[in-house]
Amino acid sequence: MYSSELIKGTLKTIILKLLKNNGKMYGYEITQRVKELTNNKIQITEGALYPTLHLLEKEGEVEAETETIGKRVRKYYTITPKGKVTVDLKVNEFVDFMNTMKFLLDFELDVGHAAK
């Protein structure tokens, strides 16, 4: 399992990407899907998930619809067109970041890449 510091910076990207690929999802479903896809290596905590979902909703990156199930209300989230643009930018940024980190932390010393 990765540390929460590592996950925190990428949480928005993870949520938006999941919503982009899977259509509408609710909170618990998101945590479970992440667990499943990463073999339990990434576990999104509820304490981080819901504040981020609220922020994404306020920023207009996702929109929510509610469904009443018995005595409780379930909130489904879907990505908006704005969110789709953001997620592509974020994924690209993250890939770039990983490449930079790879070089910085000297996993593979790639001089040609560094000179670029």
Binding site: Y26, G27, Y28, E29, T31, Q32, T45, E46, G47, A48, Y50, P51, T52, L53, H54, L55, K58, E59, T66, I69, G70, K71, R72, V73, R74, K75
Partner: protein, 393 residues
């Protein structure tokens, strides 16, 4: 496991009791917990025991953290927007006030507008936002309140200055009180709350000296009365006008004495005498009310002996905002009636009309009002004199 309504009600109540206020978040958490129970609770396990076990995974210390984190995230963006608004409004207001002051010194048009806009931006956007930001900072509560007190004084002072520039009422009140409280309230508070801290000791002393200097200068600039020279020249002009008015009055009396019919048969003469006497009684009333002296004494007094020549507060009460027989309202009624008669008797004779709109009776001091009242008297007796002279030819 299928959750019963009681279980759901229990979870919701617990979430609420643990400090989650945002309804959306309550619903999120309720559904999430229900999902965990439905999917992860082993067969035959007690619901309440399982609930107790899963709750800690939602927080580090308590459940309220989620709500706080949500609020922080939601206000974080505002925080940056606020900071940039503070910067922009600060720069614009400083620019406007400085340019406005230069324009004012050079008597160029637009100065008042610039100062007002700059001052309003400063006092209604820049400083209030600074207060909000101050409360978000990690400073001590004492510091937050001390600075807030200072900021509120800055708002009052800035509004006072705007009011002063536009000659609006209560400007002196705002300016005087804000600077007094700044000098004798804020600066000592600032000094004593910071001087004991080694890291702020030096800066505190420097800032205090600078603030004392600025506050002191502001205080010195608030000599809100006309200078002695100006006052004396107003007194001299008033006395001069009084004397000449009285001389013309006497000349008129001589003319009236020549022929009794001048007085009885002419409406203009009657109206002139009425208005003249009305103004005399208003002047005496205003002096008596301001200086708190008997009416009879007020009738005899010269302007240089009136104590409250620079008064505007009691003037506002007894003259501007009053409706008695000595009020501005009553005077205006008389002047309108006089002007109507002039227009009827001397059509096309504009110079006999009293230009009431050009007289400054509002938002001013007693000496200015008295001087202008005398000016009206002078015009009335002069017009009366030329009329009588024409009759006797």
């Amino acid at each position: 496991m299928q959750l019963s309504d009681e279980h759901i009600a229990f979870i919701l109540d617990d979430i609420k009791a643990k400090g989650i206020v945002i309804e959306d978040l309550q619903n999120n958490l309720l559904d999430h917990i229900c999902c965990i129970v439905e999917n992860e609770m082993p067969e035959g396990e007690d619901f309440y025991k399982f609930y107790g076990c899963i709750m800690p995974r939602f927080f580090k210390k308590d459940l309220k953290e989620i709500e706080e984190e949500t609020n922080n995230l939601l206000t974080f963006k505002n925080y940056y927007a606020m900071k940039s608004t503070v910067k922009i409004s600060g720069i614009i207001s400083a620019f406007l006030i400085l340019s406005g002051s230069i324009f004012k010194t050079m008597h160029w048009p637009g100065a008042g507008f610039m100062i007002m806009l700059g001052g309003l931006l400063f006092s209604l956007i820049f400083v209030p936002l600074m207060i909000v930001l101050k409360f978000k900072d990690d400073e001590t509560t004492t510091d937050k309140w001390v600075f807030t007190f200072g900021f509120v004084l800055a708002i009052v002072a800035a509004l006072g200055i705007i009011f002063k520039v536009f000659h609006w009422p209560y400007a002196n009140f705002g300016m005087r009180w804000s600077v007094t409280l700044f000098l004798f309230g804020y600066i000592p508070l600032y000094y004593f709350t910071r001087i004991r801290r080694p890291e702020t000791k030096f800066n505190t002393t420097i800032n205090m000296v600078l603030m004392m200097a600025c506050g002191g200068m502001m205080y010195a600039l608030f000599n809100l009365h006309p200078s002695t020279g100006v006052q004396e020249s107003v007194n001299a002009s008033y006395d001069f006008m009084q004397q000449h008015t009285i001389q013309v009055c006497k000349a008129n009396e001589v003319l009236y004495a020549k022929k009794a019919s001048y007085l009885t048969s002419n409406r203009f003469g009657q109206s002139s005498i009425n208005l003249y006497q009305k103004i005399d009684s208003i002047k005496a009333f205003l002096i008596a009310s301001t200086d708190k002296i008997p009416l009879e004494k007020a009738k005899q007094i010269s302007l240089s002996d009136v104590q409250g020549v620079n008064d505007n507060a009691s003037l506002r009460n007894v003259f501007e905002n009053s409706s008695n027989e000595f009020s501005l309202q009553a005077l205006e009624r008389e002047i309108y009636a006089y002007n109507e008669l002039v227009a009827e008797l001397f059509p096309g004779n504009q110079e006999k009309l009293i230009a009431i709109n050009q007289l400054q009776f509002r938002n001013t001091i007693l000496s200015v009002v008295l001087y202008q009242l005398s000016q009206v008297q002078w015009q009335v007796v002069s017009s009366e004199n030329s009329y009588l002279a024409a009759l006797s030819d």
